[in-house]
């Protein structure tokens, strides 16, 4: 912070005669001050967030070491192995079924989670936004609390509910509806339910933010023109809160696609998702370059989704603004 004081003193001492260059000098001072203030944050982020990504990119073009790590030789083998595999005896190239099925599972479960979250989250956000202003903060608080609580703990909590000796099965057996527990753990359903549970607030929050600004006079106008409730919802409310819906969907889809903890705990090591496949390459797989290539692939998918979102938002701002 002492730069602030120092810079002001310098600017007084160095004050040139003519006003224009004085202004320029002041601006230069300000720019210098700004970058000094930014230095700590940028150094930390470059060191522990952006920089390492470049190392990952580099590693994806190297050869795997025998016991993890890499051999510094250029190779595109890792990228080849992301989707393809080569049969060394028949010398044929085929799609890698194992990897493709994991990619497909990740995309399918993430889309399913997003859709379920939308089906539950939209009415919930609507409910919250139509409460009296005084109690809205309380509902917002109630949806925020799970969002800030530990993801691992929430995953454990959902496990308590669905495992064979868990709440659902105990109740169903107690009521005599079933004799043997329904196997829910270690299935794709468990993973999807878990992701829905942990990411649901991320859907509700942005939809609520757009819904809160909704002008209900427009809704009233719709009814005055004899629209049904469904029609008002579809033609008036939904288009107006669409930015929130898109933001929520992106916010749920992206972490679902890269999920690691939830599929590890609820999928039980059999039903892998991309995050687990990546981890495997750094653990038992000992194929760091492949893990790096898979990471970059995941990052690329996420970036494409984000770019599509940004373009969508700026287009909407252009048409409405």
């Amino acid at each position: 912070m002492s730069e602030l004081a120092a810079s002001s003193r310098i600017s007084v001492d160095d004050a040139p005669q003519d006003a224009a260059s004085a202004l320029q000098a002041a601006e230069r001072q300000q720019a210098k001050r700004r970058w000094l203030l930014l230095t700590p944050a940028l150094v930390i982020l470059l060191l522990a967030a952006s920089g390492p990504l470049l190392i990952v990119l580099t590693y994806s073009f190297l050869k795997p070491g025998d016991y993890g790590g890499v051999i510094w030789q250029f190779s595109t083998e890792a990228w080849f192995n992301v989707f393809l595999q080569e049969d060394i005896f028949e010398e044929t190239v085929t799609f890698s079924d194992a990897h493709l099925s994991i990619f497909w599972r990740s995309v399918r479960l993430s889309l399913g989670t997003t859709l379920m979250a939308l089906l539950i989250g939209f009415p919930t956000a609507y409910f919250m936004a139509t409460r009296p202003a005084s109690s809205r903060d309380l509902w917002l608080f109630l949806i925020t609390i799970p969002f800030w609580t530990n993801l691992l703990i929430r995953t454990f909590a959902i496990m308590e509910v669905i495992r064979n000796e868990g709440i659902i099965n105990s109740i169903l057996i107690g009521l005599g509806i079933i004799d043997t527990p329904i196997q829910m753990m270690f299935t794709d359903f468990a993973i999807m339910l878990g992701m829905l549970y942990v990411y649901l607030p991320l859907m509700v929050l942005p939809i609520y933010a757009s819904m809160e600004k909704l002008d209900f006079r427009l809704v009233e106008a719709g009814y005055d023109l004899y629209a049904t409730r469904w029609r008002v919802l579809k033609r008036v409310i939904f288009p107006l809160v669409k930015p929130g819906v898109i933001a929520g969907s992106i916010l749920v889809f992206i972490p679902s696609l890269g999920a690691y903890v939830t599929p590890r705990v609820l999928g039980g090591g059999k039903n892998l998702m991309l995050g687990n496949l990546i981890e495997l390459q750094f653990g038992q797989g000992r194929n760091w370059p492949l893990g790096a290539a898979l990471s970059i692939t995941l990052l690329a998918i996420v970036m494409i989704a984000l770019l599509a979102y940004v373009r969508n938002v700026s287009r909407q701002e252009n048409t409405h603004g």
């Binding site: 002492s2 602030l4 002001s8 700004r34 930014l38 230095t39 700590p40 944050a41 982020l45 060191l47 522990a48 967030a49 920089g51 390492p52 990504l53 190392i55 990952v56 790590g69 539950i120 009415p123 919930t124 609507y126 409910f127 919250m128 139509t130 409460r131 109690s135 903060d137 608080f141 949806i143 925020t144 609390i145 800030w148 609580t149 530990n150 993801l151 691992l152 703990i153 929430r154 454990f156 909590a157 308590e160 509910v161 549970y197 649901l200 607030p201 209900f216 809704v219 009814y223 409730r229 992206i254 890269g258 690691y260 903890v261 590890r264 705990v265 990546i278 981890e279 750094f282 970036m303």
Partner: protein, 273 residues
């Protein structure tokens, strides 16, 4: 409560949508029931997680006396405290440099860098840090907590930055001009005017950073040197087929910390409005 949204003037409620209230109530129940169950069973006297055998502090005592838990808890707190402190300081400085200013060259890049931890999937960052720190570990031989603190600081920065920036943007510029008019130096203006006004934002940012660091699993799991468990990675490691009641007890304590800090954050922010 269910029909509270009904407009008082008209009998036909324009705000009602059939089934929405029911879905919302199911949603809130779905969010809270599992957590409440977990908390309840942490007080269960029995070993089974499913059958209630009476109230007891047994699992809390077990966790409290477990040396591994003690170590992990201490490590979690140290890492979270350092990460929150450094991240909040860096974020405050960055917020001062990025708000209330005309757009300048590089500003977009700065935003992108600050928000990067929010956009890049955690597993990718985790892997990137694993590789990067492996190189440093081999070359320097340093194995300490520094790696965890650095990694946590980086992903805490955006969480600390957002409330501070929001607070700065809502601040009245005329107060600082007034101070300058009264011949206060920029440093004095900052210390006596800007900083006190900014303090709620800084506190909020620090608390969010602390909670985020305390809760992190994925990045810690990849960055830690063996034996450097934090509470979340310890709990993940304990997981076999079931969650032990001891882990339930630790979870409840962690939950309480998060809920208390987030509540404070929520009400700090609310008073501003």
């Amino acid at each position: 409560m269910a029909e509270a949204g009904t407009s008082s003037q008209t009998r036909f409620s324009i705000k009602r949508q059939p089934g929405f209230t029911t879905i919302a109530i199911v949603c809130f129940l779905m969010l809270y029931a599992p957590i409440i169950t977990l908390v309840t069973y942490s007080f269960n006297a029995g070993t089974s997680v499913a059958i209630w055998e009476g109230f007891s502090w047994r699992w809390y005592e077990a966790a409290w006396q477990n040396e591994q838990v003690q170590d992990a808890a201490a490590r979690s707190l140290i890492v979270a405290a350092f990460a929150a402190l450094i991240a909040t300081t860096a974020a405050t400085m960055a917020a001062l440099a990025t708000t209330r200013t005309k757009p300048y060259r590089g500003l977009t890049t700065v935003y992108a860098l600050i928000n990067q931890p929010l956009m890049v999937p955690e597993i990718v960052t985790a892997v990137a840090l694993l590789i990067f720190f492996a190189v440093i570990k081999v070359n320097t031989g340093y194995q300490g907590l520094g790696y965890l603190i650095l990694a946590h600081t980086a992903f805490c920065i955006p969480f600390a930055y957002l409330p501070i920036r929001a607070r700065l943007e809502g601040m009245d510029l005329s107060l600082e001009s007034a101070a300058a008019d009264l011949y206060a130096t920029p440093w004095l203006t900052f210390r006596r005017v800007t900083l006190p006004l900014l303090l709620p934002g800084i506190l909020a940012g620090a608390m969010l950073a602390f909670v985020i660091s305390l809760d992190d699993v994925v990045i810690t799991e990849f960055v830690k040197t063996p034996g450097q468990d934090t509470l979340p990675t310890y709990m993940l490691g304990q997981l076999r087929r079931v969650v032990t009641p001891e882990v339930n007890a630790i979870s409840t304590v962690l939950l309480t910390i998060s809920v208390v800090l987030v509540s404070v954050f929520f009400f700090l922010n609310r008073r501003k409005r």
